[in-house]
């Protein structure tokens, strides 16, 4: 049942967006609707930094986005991201013989896929702010300690989008990440906590 509702929403959204797009062609810059500016589908790429610590990876963040319009204000936001951090071995056994990992803010690496929703707000001049929430699944690795895990982080953040062309926008965003991950070497379930700042470009799909 719920699947039918989602399909219906997606179908309606796509239809609505397509309808809006046809009217937009005539008045592209006339401070039109959000959909006029963003389109019903888009892709993007961004680069930035992620900060973690302990068993949350951090480092250089490279991400790719896919946007799909769900309603007049909301877009599905699917992201694939790669985090490349440094750092050496930082795990040890405490006096109770429990493994503790104390990695730095920009240690480790991860590959993550996130599904979320981006809500666009009214533009303030050239700037269109947005909020974003999502849930991801990530493979996390700290090579020097031979620690690997599967993490389920929640993402909450926001940013601003500036259209520089009818089909291109520059986007800057920040997010906090919180969740849990299951790790090897006897670590078990560990919290995930960090943040990321990225900037990039988004392209409206025809």
């Amino acid at each position: 049942m719920s699947r039918l509702v989602i399909v219906a929403i997606l179908a309606c959204s796509a239809g609505l967006a397509a309808a809006e797009e046809t009217t937009v062609v005539e008045d592209t810059d006339a401070s039109g609707t959000i959909a006029d500016e963003i389109g019903d589908q888009g892709i993007g790429a961004a680069v930035g930094i992620a900060a973690g610590g302990r068993v949350t990876p951090g480092g250089l963040r490279i991400a790719g986005d896919y946007l799909y319009q769900l309603s007049s204000e909301d877009w599905f936001d699917g992201t694939a991201s790669f985090t490349f951090g440094g750092g050496g071995a930082a795990c040890y056994r405490d006096r109770m013989d429990l493994v503790v990992c104390n990695h730095g803010f920009t240690d480790g690496g991860a590959i993550e896929i996130t599904a979320g929703v981006r809500r666009m707000f009214a533009s303030q001049g050239k700037y269109r702010p947005f909020a974003r929430a999502g849930v991801g699944v990530a493979i996390v690795r700290f090579g020097d300690d031979d620690v690997s895990g599967l993490a389920f982080p929640l993402h909450l953040g926001g940013g601003v989008r500036v259209a520089v062309d009818p089909r291109v926008a520059v986007v800057a965003q920040g997010e906090v990440v919180a969740g849990f991950g299951r790790f090897n070497r006897g670590l078990g379930w560990e919290p995930q906590l960090g943040f990321a700042l990225t900037a990039g470009a988004e392209f409206r799909l025809p």
Partner: protein, 117 residues
């Protein structure tokens, strides 16, 4: 604008929390349990009467080479061991650890450090 402020506050709280989580006397450098060198940042004093369950340490010639809460003593060629004033200061290492006086390395006199009983 209100959304931006909220995001800023959340970021400050997260960063503060991460920084505040750092404090612990035991580390991979000094104090961790070990069986082999790879378990430590520098050196493992394997389990014995003096080092029950093993003890990660770093070689030193002077106090300045040891982390906070540790002293450079003239054992094993010069190693950093946990500073103590009384036996209770060593309880966090385990029940077999006590406070004993050892010669300082790179200085004169003795200092209390945690060792096995």
């Amino acid at each position: 604008m209100r959304t931006a402020h909220a995001i800023g506050i959340v970021l400050v709280v997260i960063v503060g929390g991460l920084v505040a989580c750092g404090g612990d006397r035991i580390s991979r450098e000094v104090g961790a349990r070990c069986d082999r060198t790879a378990d430590c940042a520098d050196r493992c004093l394997t389990s014995s009467g003096d080092y029950p369950d093993g003890f990660c340490t770093i070689d030193c010639t002077d106090l300045r080479e040891c982390p906070d809460d540790s002293e450079c003593v003239a054992r094993e060629g010069g190693v950093c061991l946990m500073f103590c004033r009384e036996n209770a200061d060593c309880e966090f290492l385990g029940p077999s650890w006590v406070c004993r006086e050892e010669d300082l390395r790179g200085g004169t006199g003795k200092v209390g450090v945690c060792l096995g009983s």
